[in-house]
């Protein structure tokens, strides 16, 4: 062992390794619980999922050790190459992969199947890190920004081509990283508010206000559009006088209409609010020319988009695939069909809810083992935790993840260069996204999007994919001291 490797060994972040081992081991126990068969209680056999998962977990430690030996230079030099190779692999997968439940994402290699989409994450993260660490790079530069978006969207499109929409959506996580790297918060905000519009618009679109012939959804979306427009003008254009005028006109009109409709003649005043929003747009365009401030144009665009969103929402919603539409409807509580589309989520809730405070004990869960929860050992693995380990175990997993992600943020922040930081934040963002969507789905808070819970869900691609993602970063982090010595 030479000098460099010794110092690397010393500067490895053992906190994250500890958390990693905890999660992998905990995950293995959960898979045991989920795939335990009352009539065949052998949890170590290769035949059982738990036995296989033991192999995946064990090999991932070897994989991790191996990855720790690959120097950062290699990634600096080879990131584009890796990215292109993965893109080709993804493209090929669409055509080679056999049909597995309608998805073309699994490549059979010998006795095992691999999912290239899992490896596209670190490849994209590396490519982004490399590209963004170019000296001339700036997110403010439209060309650079669009290239970054392109780098993200390309693998996404290919994965959608494999009919793995869930895995593709994970790539949205990179926008969290971009936010840290200086992307304007307005974009994230727009994304967020779009989801809010959609949820409110669909959920309350057909609900009328009490006593008034006004759709709650339509009214709320238009009011939110009005408020957000005024808010954006306030934050980004910083002209209080204009904000005051817009607020007075907008809220004044709305309040007047509401009272008039309530006390005098009930009528649907949403078109009036729409007109007010259009007036805002005209007013802001005028301001844009007058003050020569492009921001007003952007806010105007936001306002047009927001105001129109409700009306295109229905159309958009109608164009979703029926099973996706039903999933959303069930989630929003419009449809209640516990034996149909809501079956998965409902059974998941039953499994978790039946765990109580302390759970039923290891291998004692009935719901998950008797296969009431579909995909119990993969996407719905958190059910097993909830059922067998109860509230304590579930919150324990969440808190472990919390510290894990916080530690990753800390590590990312201490990276000496952009590549390390961008890559680190990509890892952070991907973990956040997976945790949020996967656990949220099991708890019935987010739509059912089939993505795994890192280290917990059964599968080699899951454990290996996240191990690769994580340990490339850990090696980079371990090298930070060396760099400082060099300079």
């Amino acid at each position: 062992m030479n000098q460099t490797e010794k110092s690397i060994f010393r500067s490895i972040d053992w906190v994250i390794i500890l958390l990693y081992v905890i999660l992998v081991v905990w995950g293995w126990f959960s898979v045991c619980g989920a795939s335990y068969d009352f009539s065949d209680p052998n949890i170590f056999g290769w035949e059982s999922n738990s036995g296989k998962q033991l192999v995946w977990g064990g090999t991932s430690f070897i994989l991790a050790t191996f990855l720790m030996l690959i120097e950062k230079r290699f990634y600096e030099a080879g990131s584009y190459f890796i990215y292109v190779a993965v893109i080709i692999l993804l493209l090929a997968t669409i055509f080679i992969a056999p049909d597995t439940k309608g998805s073309h994402s699994w490549l059979p290699i010998g006795p095992v199947k691999l999912q290239p989409a899992e490896f596209a994450k670190f490849a994209t993260a590396l490519a982004l890190g490399k590209f963004m660490s170019e000296y001339s790079f700036s997110l403010r530069n439209t060309r650079d920004f669009l290239t970054v978006v392109g780098l993200i969207v390309l693998p996404m499109a290919l994965i959608i081509g494999q009919r793995e929409t869930g895995s593709a959506l994970v790539f949205f996580a990179f926008f969290l990283m971009l936010y840290r790297e200086g992307m304007t918060g307005a974009l994230l905000f727009t994304g967020f508010i779009t989801v809010v519009y959609f949820v409110v618009g669909i959920r309350y679109g057909d609900v009328l206000m009490s006593y008034l012939p006004v759709s709650v959804g339509e009214f709320t979306v238009l009011l939110l559009a009005m408020m957000c427009t005024i808010g954006l003008v306030w934050v980004y254009c910083r002209d209080i006088a204009i904000v005051k005028i817009m607020a007075a006109v907008g809220f004044g009109t709305t309040a007047f209409m509401l009272l008039f409709s309530f006390f005098v003649i009930p009528f649907n005043f949403c078109p009036v609010m729409l007109v007010v929003n259009i007036l805002f747009v005209i007013y802001m365009m005028f301001q844009a020319f007058y003050h020569k401030l492009f921001t007003y144009v952007l806010v105007s665009l936001f306002c047009v988009f927001s105001s129109g969103f409700y009306y295109i929402c229905d159309t958009l919603f109608d164009h979703l695939k029926p099973h996706q539409r039903i999933r959303i409807e069930v989630l929003l509580g419009i449809e209640d069909d516990p034996r149909g589309a809501g079956y998965n989520v409902n059974q998941a809730k039953i499994a978790i809810g039946s765990g109580g405070f302390a759970g039923k004990g290891f291998l004692n869960g009935t719901q998950t083992k008797l296969k009431y929860v579909p995909e119990q050992h993969t996407d719905f693995i958190f059910c097993t935790v909830g059922e067998e380990e109860g509230f304590i175990g579930s919150v324990g997993v969440l808190i472990t993840y919390l510290f894990f992600i916080w530690r990753l943020i800390f590590l990312s922040e201490r990276q000496p260069d952009t590549l390390g930081r961008v890559y680190g934040y990509s890892v952070v963002s991907i973990f956040i996204f997976h945790l949020f969507i996967n656990v949220g789905m099991v708890l019935g808070l987010t739509p059912v999007i089939g993505i795994p819970l890192p280290f917990f869900s059964y599968g080699g691609s899951n454990v290996w994919g996240f191990t690769i993602l994580l340990f490339i970063f850990l090696r980079m982090d371990a090298e930070r001291g060396l760099k400082q010595e060099k300079y």
Binding site: R180, Q347, I350, S354, F357, K371, Y372, E387, S394, L443
Partner: protein, 612 residues
């Protein structure tokens, strides 16, 4: 150069994670800590409670004759998801149903509004209680009908076409039954009427259960905890009724074509020997799937065959009530055995006239009882209620009177071990205050002394009056079950009730009732073998009078007390007395003599025309 201007955004990202974790924690707390609802769901999900039904107890008569037993029947079950390539035509032909019926049934099963527990994976009842002969044809073809299964159940069978009201019946539990008692699950059977209902808990036994582990596809993974939670069913207990089925049969024959009731009681034990309600129905026609259809028809019948008149019919007792009056007056000292009252074709006083038939006047107690003199008992009540030395007000007087009546078992339920017993009506002071205002007098209420007016009794109460007199002053709560196998009768059924009237006064009433048989209204009940005591009643009624008889025999150590009530039967002597006499003869002698058989034949053939 490292860009540091967005350094603070790490806090926002860290905060986002914290926010997500807190939200999930709150959600977990809500799911796992706030309610047990999901736990219940989980249990019903994963544990299949395979219920094992115990055999329902059989019912015997007092002589050990089997009356009610079980026979296997078969429910046809369907698992909707498994029904494939069904030859509908063949299927319908086998079960003898039309295609429309088949389609309607299948639609009803999968309609959650009609079948709330529907699941396409689980067995649903397609057809219930298929009789064995239809079943065997179906079973041969069962392999062709994918998704159809057979579940064995048992149905009640009746040996005799008699005692339907008494035995009652068994049917699927209603929603109310399930709500009232969480022992029952949809599809369980429960006693609906009669003894089947009042002894439901003894007869049904206790369901057993096997707790099986079941996966989402409905496959069974063995017993939970190796059967630690399994329970064996406890079979139902057999009942021995106090009914004599031969006596019951005779009673039902005699009441053919009439409305009314017969109740026979063994005075020394309170055991009911026969309880007839007419019109009756054949309990065998209520077996299994026929029940629903028959019920509908019977509920529409204006003769109300479902009503058990013996305990649910409330009638004016007519002159049979005079015995109770006599006892009260004697005990209160209002009349003595030698007291005589005038009765010139009735009671005439203070513009009140209550008619009577021809007999010598004035008249003393025993002959008054024998001739059923209305005047005598009107005078008795008149003097009792008017006695201001003994009672300060008429209210006090009637309260004393009422207490005697209640002590004799009137005005309240006797507590027979049958459901739906009526209490009848014994008016009290408040009752009359409501009708007449506070200042009423004996004159207003006189008809109650001859069993008319506001007073109503059930035939059971009339029979119980006979038993009380036969016992010379006490009765045991009348009951129809003699013995519960391996169990005890409720204490309340063996309770002795004493009437606060001296035995010597009872002897006077007995003498009067004997007098009625030897030389009075009941003379046709007289026979050479044993001494019958009886009292007729002719309860006035708009239209035809009701024919009533109450009696017991023998006079010493009575074996049977009988009450007969024939609606619109006219004189007490026309139906009441002969029916009562035949019942006594059958029970005491074990059979009818030739002449009696002929008489029974005649009575059985007499139909009374009723207008509805």
């Amino acid at each position: 150069m490292i860009e540091t201007s967005y350094h603070n955004r790490k806090y926002i990202l860290g905060g986002v994670v914290l926010f997500i974790v807190i939200t999930f924690t709150v959600r977990l707390a809500y799911l796992q800590l706030m309610s047990d609802e999901y736990k219940t769901f989980a249990d019903s999900n994963a544990f299949l409670n395979n219920v094992i039904f115990p055999a329902r107890g059989a019912i015997y008569d007092r002589n050990g004759d089997l009356l009610v037993y079980n026979q296997p029947a078969y429910d046809i079950m369907v698992v909707m998801r498994e029904v494939k390539d069904l030859d509908t035509l063949d299927f319908c032909e086998t079960l003898g149903m039309s295609k429309d019926e088949f389609v309607m049934r299948m639609n009803n099963i999968s309609d959650r509004t009609k079948n709330p527990g529907y699941s396409p994976y689980m067995q649903q009842i397609f057809l219930s209680q298929l009789p064995s002969k239809d079943f065997s044809v179906f079973q041969e073809k069962l392999f062709r009908f994918k998704g159809f299964y057979i579940r064995e159940r048992s149905v009640r069978r009746y040996t005799y076409p008699y005692a339907a009201h008494l035995l009652g019946d068994v049917a699927e539990v209603s929603q109310q039954d399930i709500l009232a008692n969480n022992y029952y699950m949809p599809g369980d059977y429960i006693g609906k009427q009669g003894v089947e209902r009042s002894y439901e808990e003894e007869l049904r036994g206790v369901k057993g259960v096997q707790v099986l582990l079941r996966d989402a596809q409905g496959r069974i993974h063995g017993h939970y905890k190796d059967g630690a939670y399994d329970r064996k069913p406890v079979p139902g207990k057999n009942l021995t009724l106090s009914i004599d089925i031969e006596l019951q049969k005779l009673g039902e024959r005699l009441m053919q074509g009439k409305l009314g009731a017969i109740v026979a009681i063994e005075p020394s034990t309170g055991e009911i020997l026969a309880m007839v309600s007419a019109p009756n129905y054949d309990p065998r026609k209520m077996e299994g799937r026929e029940r629903g259809k028959r019920m509908g028809v019977m509920l529409k019948d204006p003769r109300r065959p479902m009503l058990n008149r013996a305990i649910q019919g409330t009638y004016p007792p007519g002159s049979t009530f005079k015995t109770a009056q006599g006892l009260t007056f004697l005990q209160e000292g209002i009349v003595k055995s030698w007291t005589s009252y005038p009765c010139l074709r009735g009671f005439r006083h203070a513009h009140r006239k209550i008619g009577c038939h021809g007999h010598p006047s004035p008249i003393t107690f025993v002959p008054a009882m024998g001739t059923s003199c209305n005047g005598y008992f009107c005078w008795g009540l008149y003097y009792m209620l008017g006695d201001r030395n003994k009672y300060s007000t008429v209210h006090d007087a009637i309260t004393v009177w009422k207490d005697y009546m209640v002590a004799m078992g009137f005005g309240y339920k006797l507590g027979v071990d049958m459901p739906g017993e009526a209490r009848g009506l014994i008016p009290n002071a408040q009752f009359y205050d409501k009708i007449y205002g506070p200042s009423w007098s004996a004159i207003n209420v006189l008809p109650i002394s001859i069993g008319q007016g506001e007073v109503t009794l059930t035939p059971l109460q009339i029979a119980n009056l006979g038993a009380t007199i036969a016992n010379r002053g006490h009765y045991i709560t009348p009951h129809v079950v003699k013995n519960v196998e391996g169990g005890n009768l409720a204490d309340s059924l063996l309770q002795r009730h004493d009437v606060p009237v001296d035995k010597k006064y009872y002897e006077l009433v007995v003498a009067g009732m004997r007098n009625a048989v030897t030389s009075g209204t009941c003379s046709s009940a007289n026979n050479p073998w044993y001494e019958v005591c009886g009292k007729t009643g002719t309860a006035q009624n708009r239209g035809h009078d009701h024919s009533v008889f109450m009696g017991f025999a023998p006079r010493v150590n009575p074996k049977i007390a009988v009450a007969v009530y024939v609606e619109n039967g006219g004189w007490g002597a026309s139906y009441g007395v002969p029916i009562g006499a035949l019942m006594m003869e059958q029970y005491i002698r074990g059979e009818l003599c030739k002449a009696s058989m002929k008489r029974a034949q005649t009575i059985q053939g007499k139909y009374i025309q009723y207008k509805f």
